[in-house]
């Protein structure tokens, strides 16, 4: 049963409007990768403007249109559109769909030995709603006034006044709906469809990570949905939920009733968006755990600690949001509360990182491409987390807030952190999804090029930020004297960013080339222990020939006395 068995299902039902979790997962993953590429491209254009402000953009400058870049020189409004859409696309349309919609959908049901998600129709719907939301967001570039310009955080009053925001909000409501459908599906699937014998403490850590992530999406997104609706009312019905009294725009008092509260938006937004950063990181940690166990050929050290830490992290992530708002003058009681919760939430993060590092100890490590990415994740995520601590404390955050230091911090966690983990996952599960290996040599070029470039891109941002350079300046801070010694770094970063772009080409070639020329594999090419490796590669409709039974924990590698160095979960005890 290696070829998908679909009975009489038509092409459309099999590959386009499919309800099979594997097809939906691949649709999510490929769409997410395309959006990542788009978001990355926007950023490469912005980097020209920062490195060489007010100079015409070579080659593509003319394509951007005179409304955006007359004579190839980028207008400030267009820079703001690129910035807002870069952030939105990367977070909501790229990383989360790939990590949760892609990996969650494809791998999780296989790992729990299920034949599909609990609600296949809803699964399909969640993909199509996501795609609509994404296309609406992208389409906003082509309407008059252009795309949203108020950052991915969309703070009012600017967001209510500036053009482009309406489509952003509508897109967002669709994305939230999609993730609501997806998260309910994930939770129900994990609770209900675990194979016989697969008790909670035998679940692979990846499944735990997806499970906690789904709760975050379920509970943290609705407040943003509410906030989005209120902002939409402000824009379309002329209400003043987020609009204070006495606003004057370009010399004219705004004809609104006023009396609203702009800080209310910030609270509602960050109540989602802080848990959202854990939505970005937890699936990544799940992938890294799987890859590390498999390539060290030994059990994860401290599996239980991992599970408890991820649960606690999920819970705590709902209590720290206002650490993004120390600048709002919230008063010492409030700020003390949020400083304490922020320090407390760092503990489980460090526990997870420590467990993963200690798991390397004494292993006979196989340096495969997925393992290289997973290994690089550890120090990169570590750097990102470490630089977050000063931001969590008000006295150090106040000078650093809204500088390039913050940009450096979160990119270390998300780019060489999460995105590296996602690459690890792609190289690791590609043979399961397609029946063919990806090319190791190209994988290594991709890895080393990306690792070096990422660090040249993001390390200088700490220097710039500590030097006081603000984020979101369309000329890179040219007009401020204190930035003069920091401007040269923009050129370095731009060069490294474009080179980073070039180093993605081997990956793209590898991805498509391996579909055709990759070495064919059997069920379990990595000699792994979890249930997905029992299914054929690629698994047919319904995944397993018979529903498997789990006889043991997920990481029984190098069991003393065993015939091989891996004892899969599906292998019965030898009696």
């Amino acid at each position: 049963m290696t070829a998908p068995v679909h009975g009489s299902a038509s092409f459309w039902r099999t590959y386009v409007f499919s309800q099979d979790h594997k097809v939906v997962g691949i649709q999510y993953a490929v769409t997410g990768l395309l959006f990542l590429l788009l978001g990355f491209t926007l950023m490469m254009i912005m980097r020209w403007q920062l490195a060489y402000p007010l100079r015409p953009i070579p080659i593509i400058g003319g394509w951007l249109g005179s409304a955006n870049a007359p004579g190839g020189i980028m207008l400030p409004e267009f820079y703001n559109q690129l910035g807002a859409m870069h952030g939105t696309i990367m977070v909501f349309l790229g990383v989360v769909p790939l990590a949760v919609g892609g990996f969650g959908n494809f791998v999780m049901p296989l790992q729990i030995g299920a034949s599909d998600m609990a609600f296949p129709k809803m699964n399909m719907a969640s993909y199509w709603v996501y795609l609509c939301g994404g296309l609406i967001m992208v389409a906003s570039f082509f309407v008059t006034g252009g795309a949203a310009q108020s950052g991915w955080t969309s703070y009012p009053p600017l967001a209510v006044i500036a053009p482009g925001q309406t489509l952003w909000l509508i897109g967002m409501v669709l994305l939230i709906t999609s993730s609501l459908l997806g998260s309910i599906n994930t939770i129900v699937t994990v609770v209900q469809l675990r194979a016989p014998g697969l008790t909670w403490m035998r679940l692979p850590f990846f499944v735990w990570a997806q499970f906690v992530t789904a709760f975050l999406l379920l509970l943290a997104f609705p407040p943003l949905e509410a906030a989005g609706a209120l902002q939409l009312m402000d824009r379309l019905a002329g209400t003043s939920f987020f609009m204070p009294s006495g606003l004057v725009v370009t010399g004219q008092p705004l004809p609104i009733s006023g009396g609203g509260n702009p800080l209310l938006w910030q609270h509602l937004f960050w109540f989602l968006a802080h848990p959202e950063v854990y939505v970005l990181i937890l699936p990544a940690m799940g992938i890294v755990a799987e890859v590390i166990a498999n390539n060290t050929r030994k059990p994860l050290w401290g599996y239980r600690a991992l599970v408890y830490a991820v649960g606690f992290l999920g819970f705590m992530s709902m209590t720290v949001w206002a650490h993004h708002m120390y600048m709002t003058g919230m008063g010492t009681t409030m700020s003390t509360f949020f400083q304490i919760t922020t320090m407390v939430i760092s503990i489980p993060s460090v526990v997870i990182l420590t467990v993963l590092m200690l798991s390397l100890w004494g292993g006979s490590i196989r340096f495969t491409t997925p393992m290289l990415f997973a290994l690089a994740f550890l120090p990169m995520f570590g750097l990102g987390g470490l630089t977050g601590l000063p931001l969590g404390l008000a006295p150090t955050d106040i000078p650093l807030h809204d500088t390039y230091y913050v940009i450096g911090h979160f990119h270390y966690v998300v780019a060489p952190g999460t995105i590296f983990a996602l690459f690890a996952g792609i190289y690791y599960w590609f043979p399961k999804a397609t029946g063919r290996m990806m090319h190791e040599g190209l994988g290594r070029i991709h890895f080393w090029g990306s690792l070096i470039c990422m660090n040249i891109v993001f390390m200088p941002m700490f220097i710039q930020g500590l030097g006081g350079m603000n984020r979101r300046l369309y000329d890179g801070g040219l007009q401020y004297a204190h930035n003069a010694p920091l401007l040269k770094w923009h050129v370095v970063i731009a060069m490294a960013a474009w080179t980073l772009g070039l180093f993605q080409l081997p990956f793209i070639a590898n991805f498509f080339g391996s579909l055709k020329w990759g070495t064919p594999v059997d069920r379990n090419p990595w000699h792994a222990t979890t249930l997905e490796w029992l299914a054929p590669s690629p698994p047919g409709h319904g995944n397993f020939q018979t529903i498997p039974t789990a006889y043991r924990g997920p990481y029984e590698y190098s069991v003393p006395g065993a015939a091989t160095d891996f004892t899969p979960q599906f292998e019965p005890d030898a009696q």
């Binding site: 998260s183 129900v188 609770v191 209900q192 997104f221 509410a226 002329g238 509602l268």
Partner: protein, 194 residues
């Protein structure tokens, strides 16, 4: 390929898939309305005046009674379906639907009165909150009514094929309807009475 536990509960968890999904959905709804209610409290605390006297408490009280009655009706519809009494099930469910529509009718009457007096959401934070929160709730009523009409229409055929499955669906719908009812009680108290 069959997905297990759509009809029978999984023994070790005690849930059917649908019922667990409904509870999770309601949890997310709690967060949605929680955010709306908190926004209301914060905005009202910062407002200079709050002319809630302009609201029609009489109409809203009638609506409260209607929704309470409809909750009772859907419980009866559920019990009848469980007990295999098909004609009473349909009668009670139809009654629920009618009560829901009357609720919407009275709500539209309230809206049109406000608009006729020139009271628009853009006039004040008070009206913005009033229209938006009740509007959100009304959308939830519409959603519930659509589901019930489906269960009375094309969805009813499931009863002959798989009565157990059908009853599960009615149960989930009832759960949702009670929730929407509770939200209304909160709205009625917080908007009209205090």
């Amino acid at each position: 390929m069959e997905i297990p536990y759509t009809v029978e509960a999984r023994p070790d968890t005690g849930w059917t898939n649908g019922k667990l999904a409904m509870w999770l959905f309601l949890a997310s709804e709690v967060m949605l309305f929680g955010a709306l209610f908190s926004s209301y409290v914060i905005l009202r605390a910062g407002a200079t005046d709050w002319p809630r006297e302009s609201l029609n408490v009489g109409a809203a009280s009638v609506n409260t009674l209607l929704l309470l009655a409809s909750s009772l009706m859907i419980s009866k519809a559920r019990a009848a379906a469980t007990g295999g009494d098909w004609p009473s099930h349909r009668r009670w469910l139809w009654t629920t639907v009618v009560l829901g529509f009357v609720f919407l009718g009275i709500k539209s009457f309230e809206y049109s009165e406000h608009l006729a007096h020139g009271e628009y959401p853009s006039n004040s934070t008070f009206l913005a909150v009033y229209f938006t929160l009740t509007g959100f709730h009304a959308l939830h009523i519409v959603g519930g009514l659509l589901v019930m009409l489906y269960l009375l229409g094309p969805g009813a055929r499931l009863y002959t094929r798989n009565p157990r499955h059908f009853v599960n669906r009615v149960e989930c719908t009832a759960l949702y309807w009670h929730f929407v009812d509770v939200i209304w009680l909160c709205l009625f108290t917080l908007l009209y009475l205090v």
